[in-house]
């Protein structure tokens, strides 16, 4: 039953460009998947590590900005991707070293401050980031000779990256390291007393989260072919966090569903409702009131209850 549902979902996702009826919808689907990768990355810290980050758009943006700089300096795509990810990992290590001086609200505040610094650099360090004008790049890569210029091809490439991301997450979650990370979320003192280096576990989780944030940032860069300070603003970090929380943190599917919800509301609902932000807010309030654990665990709970009720 579960396998069947998984296969069905995969088949539907894999064939989006064939049935969705238009470039517009294919592009929306690409956005959902790239933000899903970003939300999965945030979920490593927020869901499994219990560390709420309000600065993740910083890492997302650093990857995109580094990629954009390298592209406009004329580097090839392999160097661009490698360089951008290396930059993001270095930044993640620095941010983690700073932010992990605190936990709980302290961690939130430090990540918030770091995110604001990144935004400040993107907005004001004009020689590096081109300030408010952002950086435009042209040309998507052609891995294995397949051009990603068309929306359908780009969607499939994003789909493959997304599959690798969610597969890697599933492996980590079921691994001893995943169990250790969840342990540090639930009982850090006990974990320390059991012989776990709590700080190092959190640090490595931050790096992992940074890596996938960087991958998502690169997808964003290649999708939009443009970066601007808007993508590293606090708003973007908060949106990522909302994707995780509304879909269901500490689940694999939750961040994906949350990403879908936010992207659809932003793009589709905004075409029909001028005050779409209000609608999005109302949906979040409804989720928090009726399914505080998030959409995915909430629906599972209702489904189980309905089935037990029938018996």
């Amino acid at each position: 039953m579960k396998r069947l549902a998984q296969a069905g979902a995969l088949a539907i996702l894999a064939t989006v460009p064939l049935w969705s009826g238009g470039t517009y919808y294919v592009n929306i689907a690409s956005q959902i998947l790239l933000y899903a990768v970003f939300a999965l990355a945030i979920n490593v810290l927020v869901g499994y590590g219990g560390l709420i980050s309000l600065g993740h758009a910083g890492l997302f943006g650093i990857a995109a900005y580094a990629g954009a700089r390298l592209l406009s300096d004329g580097y090839g795509h392999v160097a661009v991707v490698g360089g951008a990810l290396a930059t993001t990992l270095a930044a993640a290590a620095l941010f983690a070293a700073l932010a992990l001086r605190g936990t709980g609200i302290g961690f939130v505040m430090i990540t918030l401050a770091i995110g604001q610094i990144v935004w400040g650099v993107a907005y004001r360090w004009i020689s590096l980031t081109n300030g408010d004008n952002g950086i435009s790049v042209s040309g998507r890569p052609s891995p294995f000779g397949l051009s990603l210029a068309s929306p359908a091809h780009f969607y499939w490439a994003t789909f493959v990256v997304f599959l690798v991301a969610i597969g890697a997450m599933a492996v980590v979650v079921a691994s001893p390291f995943g169990a250790s990370l969840r342990g540090t979320r639930d009982q850090p003192r006990r974990m320390n007393a059991l012989g776990y280096h709590v700080w190092m576990i959190r640090f490595l989780a931050f790096i992992l989260s940074g890596f996938w944030s960087g991958v998502a940032g690169l997808l964003y860069l290649y999708y939009n072919q443009f970066v601007s300070p808007q993508m590293v603003a606090l708003n973007a970090s908060a949106e990522g966090l909302l994707m995780v929380i509304s879909g269901g943190s500490a689940t694999l599917l939750g961040p994906v569903v949350g990403a879908g919800l936010v992207v659809v509301m932003k793009n589709v609902a905004s075409a029909y409702i001028e005050r779409w932000n209000f609608v999005l807010g109302a949906i979040f309030v409804a989720i928090v009131v009726f399914m505080p654990e998030g959409l995915v665990p909430g629906v599972v709970r209702l489904w189980r209850r309905a089935r037990e009720g029938r018996r």
Binding site: S175, P176, F177, S180, Q187, A193, L194, G195, V198
Partner: protein, 245 residues
Amino acid sequence: MTALAVRNLKKSFGGLMVTASVSLEVEAGERRLIIGPNGAGKTTLFNLITGELRPDGGSVTLFGRDITRVAGWRRPHLGMSRTYQIITLFPGETLLRNVTLALLGLSPLRWNPVIRLERRRQLVDRAREVLARVGLEGLAERPVAQTSYGERRRVEIAMALAQDPKVLLLDEPFAGLSVEERRDVLRLVTAIPREVTTVMIEHDMDVALDFAERITVLHFGEVVVEGTRGEVVAHPRTREIYLGE
């Protein structure tokens, strides 16, 4: 040989001196009971010994090695395990997973991000054995949140036993238990092999008196009386502290 030695250990919280120069030595294989009324600084002493708190002064020695500056997370690897007075388990996980985490803590596998933890048969089987030791093998698959308080106490002890410690610190293992549950736990701790040096904190003298051959009485952060069971019980200071005479 001295298993655990504490010398002139001091700790203050603000102006409150909770541990005022405590010294004690526990021989290898000994069973030691530390008693004292509430607020005597017993749990703080454990937190200092295990490295959860940094002492303001003094030293902690484990089998002759000075571990005062050794990080808390390294100490279990040196053979020191503890239980908590306030039950500190992973409430959403099963009993089996709780004990598995205790075993994993001492294994280099804990850093591995690619293997499946539940497929590590060796680890899981050993966790089952430890649960059997505390009589909980039948509840292995049950989440902690669905077990009784007495069962959680035993899981708490199982977590420490799983690590095969050389020095075991038990922080009020009888706290909050019914008379029958106390009997079970007493049987459990008495069955701990003699080569494990065991230090137990208890504030209720009657429960654990039979457990130890040597007893230390702690009062206002100081060692007031120390000696054999008979000596301590007969000592006028013990009577004063416990009976208010």
